[in-house]
Symmetry: C2
Subunit: 158 residues, 2 copies
Amino acid sequence: MPRTTGHTHVTGDPEELHAAAAVRLGADDQRYTSGRRALVELLADAPHPLTVAEVLERNEGLTQSSVYRNLAVLEATGVVDRVVTEDEFARYELAEDLTGHHHHHLICAGCGGVEDFSVPPDLETAMDEVFHKVARRSGFSVGHHRMDIIGWCATCRT
Amino acid sequence: MPRTTGHTHVTGDPEELHAAAAVRLGADDQRYTSGRRALVELLADAPHPLTVAEVLERNEGLTQSSVYRNLAVLEATGVVDRVVTEDEFARYELAEDLTGHHHHHLICAGCGGVEDFSVPPDLETAMDEVFHKVARRSGFSVGHHRMDIIGWCATCRT
DNA sequence: ATTTATGCAAATCGTTTGCAAACCT
DNA sequence: AGGTTTGCAAACGATTTGCATAAAT
């Protein structure tokens, strides 16, 4: 299931977002239940990727195990992306190819906090070409790339 | 303790490598014990970052808990780097600024396998400038960056 | 009705830790 | 001796899973 072609990007309208999510779930015979809709809403509103703990703080009606299960379903259907940081918590955000907003992460090695940023398109393209060339040479197919900064935020710098 | 300046890079001589490791440990009042030396040797010989399980397979004389403890010490003193992939296992390799070999990772989303690659110096520099600019704007200090490819290796492509 | 999702509690598993013995210096 | 490291076994904690109930089609 290629996730980089043929999809409509969501521009910012919540309706459109939910519709797109429903479509992707439906394509995999999955239902867009209230629990899953709640997750998509939380992630759409969050200014950065959320941990499961943060999800549960923001919506106390949700159950931990269902959140884990639903995030797995949403990830498998291309509605959310899992973000790996340096700490032990998985974080989730709306899938890039759903929002159409390609970006990278500033990750704080102290608190695990995450902030988004982008790089100039020409550089992004140049790097992409290198990535594909490198992958081809090694027999890899490119899924996506990570171009993240690991550092210390103003607070954690001590 | 800045880890990007003032250090001598190891070119390939095992003696030099161990000497450099000993120096870094000593700077933090840590001893270069046989268990730690064994880890450095394993990582120096490995063609890719190793998980703890792989370390234990390659040297059955080592104990799991000591391996974890020693990897933590080696990481804190800048002798090894922890590599975060998409799977649940931490991987370790000799620190970049110890080997002087800056590189990136091709990570297989299927088996978690890791392969190294580098990008042209001019691109690396251009990206670095962007990273520093972005970080400054957000009040972050840059530790290091990740520019990794997540994909599927020839075997896992199915 | 039948299939799928949920909530609770228990299990999983990589990693961490307490403590006594072994090791350095 | 005095402090550090090690090995074993027990503890931790994020995530997963079994199973009975609730919800959706």
